[in-house]
Amino acid sequence: MTRSTLRAGVATLAIGALALTGCAGGGEASGGDAATYPQDDITLIVQAAAGGGSDLSARALATELEPILGVSIVVENRPGASGSTAMQYVADQDPDGQTIGFVPVEVAMLKHLNFDVDPAAYDFLGQIMLGPGVLSVPVDSPYQTLEQFVTAAKSRPMAVGNSGAGSIWEAAALGLASETGAQLTSVPFDGEAPAVAAVAGGQIDAAVGGGASASAAYAEQQIRPLAVFHNERHPLMPDVPTAAEAGFPLEFGGWGGIYAPKGLPADVRTTLESAIQQAANSPGFTETIEKSGSLPVYKSGEEFTAFVNSEYERFGTLLGQG
């Protein structure tokens, strides 16, 4: 018994040591020699804990990136403070291509919520996915369409749940209210699932959430989605109209892409951008993203940068009012 305990102890220490060294590996700068980049392992920072939607997308992309770049991609989760911990960490790294990160929609919002996160501190290398927002009501709700809901919300305030204060889904409800003049009271929950559960239980009038959580509850007929905030219908719920079809051309989504600290050498940037384009369009990646309830939407580095800036301005107006 004593021997096996010792063995277990050694194994624990070894795992601990591996974890520590694995984390420390990303700090080394290779100088970014253009002809040979990449030579060392690349660290991919994720702003959320392992197991969530962001982590899933990042890991799926990393799997595809590895054979293209010919080096290992070490995915490192640095959750905390609405993702700002990871974003500040990425901004502080050397722009040599050894540290990149998964960038979520929050990068365009956090500055307006008084976090120290500025999109100007990053090079955006490409969008890889999009999770469009969905507005749902309880199955016994009297409202069958988005139009009916908005009309009713003009005469009485509606409680609309979302995944948390300062989340993209709260911004979506704010956007719908300011666009239509509906009276929507934001009720932030601790994550998407409890908000969906509150709609299913009829405690709130509606909720805005991502397609993944809504489609599962929809499949079980626990909730009734009224509209998708995207320019086309969601493949997991094809009979739910878009907001534009209902007369309100609004788009809100939890998008994600890849970024790096500002100032990458031009050739490193080109290498990364083309690798990301190839990986994001590979069948392995797109299938994983579709299964998770999101859409594999790709934008090039240039398009993505312009998109982030336009989102940043849009949320500035929207959250400034809120």
Binding site: L20, A49, Q203, I204, E220
Partner: protein, 590 residues
């Protein structure tokens, strides 16, 4: 029926079997080491299970949860050290039984009733979880708020000796819980420009700090050599038929208590074990034997603390509110796996519920088998020197908390919590209420404010479940206070009729394992106390010890001379049948 087949089929996957074995090994080892709690093990393991499928991950974590529950009885019984708080009540009768040469019987009986308690409570999970789940969908923010208040009311009962100190600790936890972003408006509160504080204090780091690290620091700061030899002879293993009959009544009483306490949020095996032991004593025909090696007492303690598992699991899965500290970690992991425990889980994923019940039952049965087979060999592990034990624990804690965020800040929070925990421990403040406040405070606040956003203040009163729970919470809060007040009154009344003065003659001495035959007599106006003490009756180190208390103004009041100062005055006891001279009275008079 489909869910039943799917749920069981999910368990037949070989990877699940591997996870199951890993969990079982970790759980058995972990519970066995004094001080390493099941929640610490589950928290550490959860860092390594994040990438698994829910069923695989649950197979690891639930099995650790169950396995630790068996392992932690062993040091309780053999060396009077509870492996986890849930085994505190086990020491009351388990250790005396071991000293009476019935260690084998104690270990085996403990394993049997632990298994019985878990299996019985899983029946509740399977049978009654459905109505609980039906009811659970009715739980909106108003009801959740009322339920959390109900949980907070338990602060008084977990306060230990001093209600005031318990409540101060609880309020401190509630205050700490307000650090971070406001749950409704998103404004920063008490962040002081530290970005990491935006997400609040990391809960697991604080728990590990307040319990594990604080205990470790406390041990490092205590320079008392505390060498306890494990008991080498186990004696008879299996209970006789008469003993089984004896165990039946405390088993029945305690399993009900365990399930109820387990279902109550934030009350776990430690409280259940104590209450179960206490109730069984009141209902026993031989209450005097409790605490002196009663098989009934051991049965009551272990049944109650193990029956909390099913109750706690029911609450956790059906309500999304942690039934105990292990379940708090479990909820975090499940959310990461994309399984949100809560009102709709039973309807959303019935097959997962079947898998959970299957894992629990299998873990309980296999743990029983393992504990029967391994009991003999496992005893020797305790010979590991303390410094290796504590060093290993410190490394595990640091690695574990670091991996939750990959951020050294979390480790600092843990270490600082450890220092705070030692100070609290030394000042008599219980850490339980702090953790309760930190865990339930944000739930109470955010649900109250959601409820107010939706319906305004009226919703809390007009909704029957919410209103009912709030009334129950008031009763739960008032109950222990009234009981304490009544106990204090009875004590005062007793003091009027028969005054009893308790004074310590001598503080504990390292070599005194047993003491008896104390006597006090007046010698020339002074008081002289004498007693036998040593390793045990008849052991070579047993001596007569003396202490003298001068009367009058010659010395400070209540001052007894310290026995070690008169070390030479003791006389070695001789074998039975021969008398030995005792020179202590003469030397004490000098």
């Amino acid at each position: 029926m489909n869910a039943l087949a799917d749920g069981i089929a999910a368990l037949l996957d070989p990877t699940v079997a591997v996870c199951f074995v890993v969990g079982l090994l970790v759980g058995t080892l972990v519970g066995f080491f004094p001080g390493i709690t099941g929640s610490m093990a589950v928290a550490l393991a959860s860092g390594f299970t994040l990438t698994l499928e829910p069923v695989q991950g649950l197979a690891v974590l639930l099995t650790i949860y169950v396995g630790a529950n068996y392992g932690d009885r062993i040091p309780s019984i053999l060396v009077n050290t509870p492996g986890t708080p849930a085994a505190i009540a086990t020491t009351f009768d388990g250790y005396p039984m071991a000293r009476q040469g019935k260690a084998g019987l104690a270990l085996v009986s403990s394993s049997i009733v632990t298994t019985g308690g878990i299996l019985l409570s899983m029946v509740l999970f399977v049978v009654a979880a459905r109505p609980v789940a039906q009811l659970a969908l009715e739980f909106g923010p108003a009801e959740m708020f009322a339920l959390v208040v109900f949980g907070l009311a338990i602060m008084v009962s977990v306060s230990g000796k001093s209600v005031v100190k318990g409540l101060i600790a609880g309020v401190a936890g509630l205050v700490l819980a307000t650090v971070g972003r406001d749950p409704i408006t998103g404004d920063a509160r008490f962040v002081f420009g530290v970005n990491d504080l935006n997400s609040g204090l990391p809960f697991i780091a604080v728990i590990i700090g307040l319990f594990g690290i604080a205990e470790l620091f406390d041990q490092l700061l205590t320079h008392r050599p505390h060498t306890v030899k494990p008991i080498s002879s186990l004696g008879r293993w299996w209970p006789t038929r008469g003993e089984y009959r004896q165990m039946a009544r405390p088993f029945g009483v305690s399993s009900v208590i365990g399930m109820i306490v387990g279902a109550v949020p934030a009350a776990g095996g430690d409280i259940a074990g104590l209450i179960g032991w206490d109730r069984a004593k009141r209902m026993s025909k031989e209450p005097d034997r409790f605490g002196k090696g009663s098989l009934e007492g051991l049965t009551a303690a272990d049944t109650a603390s193990s029956a909390t598992l099913g109750g706690s699991l029911t609450t956790t899965m059906a309500l999304g509110i942690p039934g105990d500290a292990v379940m708090a970690v479990m909820i975090g992991s499940m959310i990461i796996w994309g399984v949100q425990p809560g009102p709709s889980l039973f309807t959303r994923e019935p097959e997962l519920m079947v898998s959970i019940a299957g894992i629990m039952v299998m873990a309980a049965l296999v743990s029983l088998a393992i504990s029967l087979v391994r009991t003999r060999g496992i005893v020797r592990l305790l010979d590991l020197p303390n410094h290796y034990l504590w060093g290993g624990i410190l490394v595990c804690c640091i690695v574990g908390t670091y991996t939750t965020t990959n951020n050294i800040y979390t480790v600092w929070v843990m270490l600082v919590s450890g220092v705070v925990g030692v100070v609290m421990k030394r000042c008599g403040f219980p850490p339980g209420p702090v953790v309760l406040g930190l865990l339930l405070g944000p739930l109470a606040e955010s649900n109250l404010r959601r409820a107010l956003l939706i319906d305004g203040p009226a919703g809390l009163v007009t909704q029957p479940i919410a209103a009912g729970l709030l009334v129950l919470a008031l009763v739960a809060l008032a109950g222990p206070l009234v009981a304490r007040a009544r106990a204090a009154r009875t004590e005062r009344r007793g003091a009027m009729t028969a005054p009893v003065h308790r004074r310590w003659v001598a503080v504990d001495h390292p070599s005194w394992r047993q003491a008896h035959a104390s006597t006090v007599l007046a010698v020339g106006g002074d008081l002289l106390a004498a007693w036998f003490a040593g390793e045990r009756e008849g052991s070579p180190d047993t001596r007569i010890w003396c202490a003298r208390r001068p009367q009058g103004r010659r010395a400070g009041r209540h001052r007894w001379s310290s026995p070690p100062a008169m070390r030479r005055t003791g006389t070695r006891c001789s074998p039975p049948g021969r008398t030995a001279p005792c020179g202590c009275s003469s030397s004490a008079a000098r």
